[in-house]
Symmetry: C2
């Protein structure tokens, strides 16, 4: 197997460019950086993997991943550290990278009939928050996650990393304005619960028994009053101490675990 | 009021140095950067504030804070943008900074008799995690937070920022080895619940009725088996989907909110 040694090669530049949203959209590709993500995509969505790059030193360390990739007939390009550093814009490259096709599903698929709950993120902009909520949604047993228009790109490397593999564990749908997404949930029999500090229903008192959707707002400004008015209920996580609020990811996680504990999922 | 304009002045360098743990310990001072933190320390612990620095443009924007500081007879030093940029090592200085004395309390104070729950962080190293857990502990109504030896310094600027003011909302104690802290909780009538993915008790089944302490481990390696064996119970947050785990801050928040909902706090 030949080893890629030229960090300025066109193919290396093309992967590096996938750090930018415009390039990802043009190419229909994104990058998964590091063994945790690569392991999960190979396990749950190997058909979306286009190719792998592995540093020579990482071949032995991640033999299981290399074998899984070869077993799925995926090209594995061996490269030297300089090429690896050029492929991804991270401070500490972890030696293995996969180039992948998107995995998002249509909104209608994410809202397929069923009990339990889904999560709708309205205009969530921070990559770490979005990724963490996707990971928490996975852990709490959400049926799907939907991100509205004007949300962060889930194929942003920081989102991919902070999902810790959950990107491939549950259906994720993209796009649509928030009122349209609320209506889509409701027309499919899901009560929409807006999580917001302005809510009058405290989480312990919320009705989580049937199929429902949690609607989470932007990390800085929450949900507009007009949006809250479209929901079936506006629910507030109780604040027992002197804190002003919880951050988005924490509030979302507490809400989703309440659904997991008390709902019929 | 004279305006400080020399970013190389000794007093400016002395504040800047407080970004380092060694300088904070030597001086017995730390820095609170930005209006949110400054507001909370003035409101809840004004006696710990030594002095304020405010950019000229921020004086009008934060008139309430300046008035509160003057009302408490605290010196307010007006400075220009170059001095503000030299005072703190942040990309976007927010125009107002307070130099403060520590607020931590002795462990015995944090473990004063009472119902409800406290949180013990064992070797938590990441500033954002520690600060977020302190904020969540505040929101969930924890009686106190205790950080063991070898944890991150809570006066690290990143910790201060990520507590969002909760640093001054509840008692925080520092230091002690983890077995000693477990014994201190137990001898004061608090059951110790170690939160760990290796737990056999699922959170919904855990006994949260009496006074207790949540013990949270390091973000990467959790809690050692020997430490878990000292706890009264080892409790696991259920993972319903395919996620491997929740991160420390999310797991801690779910545990603490379970205590808030079901405990006798």
């Amino acid at each position: 197997m030949s080893v890629l040694t030229n960090p300025r090669a066109e193919r290396v530049k093309a992967v590096r460019a996938l750090g930018r949203r415009s390039a990802r959209q043009r190419a229909g590709r994104f990058v998964v950086d590091g063994p945790q993500g690569v392991r999960e995509v190979l396990r749950f969505a190997a058909h979306t993997v286009v190719e792998l790059y592995a540093e020579t030193a990482a071949l032995g360390r991640h033999r299981d991943l290399i074998e899984a990739a070869r077993g799925a007939d995926l090209p594995v390009h061996q490269c030297d550290p300089a090429v690896m550093a050029a492929l991804v814009d991270t401070q500490h490259p972890q030696g293995i990278v996969a180039v992948c096709r998107p995995v998002d599903v249509p909104v209608t698929d994410a809202l397929a009939p069923g009990d339990g709950f889904v999560v709708v993120l309205a205009h969530v902009r921070d990559p770490g928050n979005a990724g963490t909520v996707i990971r928490a949604a996975d852990a709490a047993g959400a049926r799907a996650v939907i991100l509205s228009d004007e949300s962060v790109d889930i194929y942003n490397p920081k989102v991919v990393r902070s999902t810790a593999g959950s990107l491939w564990h549950l259906p994720i749908a993209l796009g649509g304005d928030v009122p349209g997404l609320i209506a889509a949930c409701q027309s499919r029999g899901r009560r929409v619960l807006a999580a917001d500090g302005a809510g009058t229903t405290l989480l312990p008192d919320a009705d989580l028994s049937g199929a429902h959707a949690w609607l989470m707002g932007n990390e800085a400004w929450g949900l507009d009053e007009q949006i809250r008015a479209l929901a079936d209920d506006v629910v507030r996580v109780p604040i027992h101490g002197r804190a002003e609020s919880l951050n988005l990811a924490l509030a979302a996680t507490v809400c989703m675990y309440a659904s997991a504990d008390r709902g019929t999922s």
